[in-house]
Amino acid sequence: MYNSALYKDEPLLQFIDVSKWFGPILALSQITWTFKSGIVGLVGANGAGKSTFLRLAAGLLRPTLGEVKIAGHDAWDWRSRRLIGYCPSTDAFFHDLSGQQFVLVMARLCGMTRREARKSTEAILQRLGLHDLATRPIYGYSKGMRQRIKLAQALVHHPPLLILDEPLAGIDPLGRHELIGLFRQLNQEGHSLIISSHELETLEQLTDQILILSRGRLAAAGTIAEIRHQLSEYPITIRITVSSPRELARQLIDWPEVSAIEWPASSQHTSCNTLLVRVHRPREFFQRLTQFLAQNTSWDITCFESIDESAHALLGYILGGSGKT
């Protein structure tokens, strides 16, 4: 396992009031964020600044204002890159090389000896399922294979921090499932990962820690539950399936926490006994509902769930819109 004691005092990645301009365009604005370990999903609309954020973390860009630190050292410093494995979204390679040669070169350029590099390359390619295809030139690879090769070069020198820019783009569902398993495994072994993706369902399978960027600003950071808690004013929607929905609705409508009640059309997930209750200040609502149900035990509630406690709904609220990126 990685010696996390080495990072006890210093976070693995730190953004300290970071802003980045490209000419007159403000790409990132006053980002302050600390990351110690685990897996973080980075989400945001197109042009929100995700790639800029990751490139700053990888030391490929310098912040216009503020600092980016890797284990307490400036990310721009070449020595910080020992701790980083960066997987970019761009698809440019040294096309004349085979996959194996490419990963081998990357390993050698990280300071590995020939023997170490060869052994590590073999191991990584085996792990990513590329061993049989490794001798083919990269220009003949499919999109998915290129993604895996990019991942391989990021892993070959065993960095504690992996920065992955859209690692699942262009990968088929089966491959995606395998990669998700791999990411979990890497995390268990001690690697920390920052993954940007548009696949929110995938990120939710991987982690509950998300970082939401919106128009260059850090809109939210933390677990989904934490972010939800902070958004106490945001009305959540609760689906309740009960034997007498109209009576329940008559009771609930007078509550100050309830803003609306709907009867959804019947579908696979809903029946005619289902009602959707939109509430704000969910904590107060749940307290009142608990007392109400305790005093009135005749209600036959068969289903009770919050239907927008998800990254999509959260993203939709924070970014505005459906939550699609």
Binding site: N3, R62, A71, M106, R108, L109, Q126, P159
Partner: protein, 334 residues
């Protein structure tokens, strides 16, 4: 606070590979990078090199034809279409000079052998005559075609092919734990052998095609050209750091700035790399006794000044480029 240098990478649970960062290994990886850049040209089937080869081939073919037809020696060249050759004019001038001198020294009708007192002017005329061919070859081929066209273009294309800014593959090098200045230096060093190979390959072909004059020019001018290549390579690498389109900037520099500034009177021409390289070639020819002052070029710098300038430019631009690369972001990202 832990220092990064003290960090050790752990073992993986399966496929265990232990790997410890050491500064010694980073130095070795830098040398590996130089080899990687150097070997890059071997892997690629580059259109640029093909076009360079074709252009060089055209020049070599032209030189070999002219050499076969003995056109470097101006003796055979006619002044006008139906006029006398330069050789005939020179012979006539020598004869007239000799007749004038001898008739003034010895009265008419004097019998006996003509004393072999050849005045220095006659000797000089003869010497010019024998050197004319080489100077003519130097003027057109070495100073004109090679220095003014082939050398800068081959150097520029070689630098650009190996560090092609139109390909985003540089991101792989920049994300390695190597100082960016060292990556710049590695690129500089890695491209030099190819630049020398290309340039001296062309020079050797010209030497073979150019006959005696070609071989003589290869022998005389090699050092000057070597220093010139260092300076030009440093300059074009520096353009790569400074500009998004270094090829076009290089062209403007070679065919506009150098053509204009290198031939201006006064001190402005001292800014020109071509002027200093030409000065070195000049002085090398002068040291062998050639009358290069007959060629229509502005006065050359001294040997020491020219060498000093070229070395200074090489070192300055290389160090500046290395410093800039450690400080600037790659423009292609933006």
């Amino acid at each position: 606070m832990s220092k990064i240098g003290d960090l050790e990478n752990p073992m993986l649970q399966d496929n265990t590979v232990s790997f410890t960062f050491k500064y010694r290994n980073i130095v070795l990886s830098w040398f590996y990078l130089i080899w990687f850049i150097l070997a890059g040209q071997l892997r690629r089937n580059s259109l640029t090199l093909w076009v360079s080869t074709i252009l060089s081939g055209v020049v070599v073919l032209w030189v070999s034809i002219e050499t076969q037809r003995d056109r470097w020696d101006l003796r055979q060249r006619r002044i006008a279409r139906a006029g006398p050759t330069y050789g005939q004019i020179l012979d006539r001038a020598i004869m007239e000079q000799a007749y004038a001198v001898l008739s003034s020294q010895f009265p008419a009708g004097t019998a006996g052998a003509v004393p072999l007192l050849i005045p220095s002017t006659l000797l000089r005329l003869n010497q010019i005559q024998s050197h004319l061919g080489f100077m003519h070859y130097s003027y057109w081929i070495m100073y004109g075609v090679y220095l003014g066209f082939l050398m800068p273009l081959l150097t520029l294309s070689c630098v650009n092919t190996l560090i092609d800014p139109e390909n985003d593959a540089w991101v792989w090098l920049w994300s390695r734990p190597l100082p960016r200045s060292s990556i710049y230096l590695a690129q500089w060093i890695g491209t030099l052998p190819w630049i020398f190979l290309l340039n001296f390959g062309v020079l050797t072909a010209l030497a073979l095609a150019g006959g005696t004059y070609g071989r003589r020019s290869l022998f005389l001018y090699s050092l000057s050209i070597m220093l010139g290549i260092f300076a030009l390579a440093s300059l074009f690498h520096f353009f790569h750091i400074l500009f998004r389109r270094p090829v076009v900037i290089g062209l403007i520099y070679v065919f506009f700035f150098e053509s204009l500034v290198g031939n201006l009177p006064g001190s402005v021409k001292l800014l020109s790399l071509t002027f200093h390289i030409r000065s070195l070639m000049y002085r090398a020819a002068q040291a062998e006794g050639y009358q290069v002052e007959l060629l229509l070029f502005p006065e050359a710098a001294t040997w020491e000044a020219a060498v000093g300038f070229l070395l200074f430019v090489t070192v300055l631009l290389t160090l500046l480029g290395a410093w800039l690369s450690s400080y600037r972001e790659r423009r292609e990202i933006i």
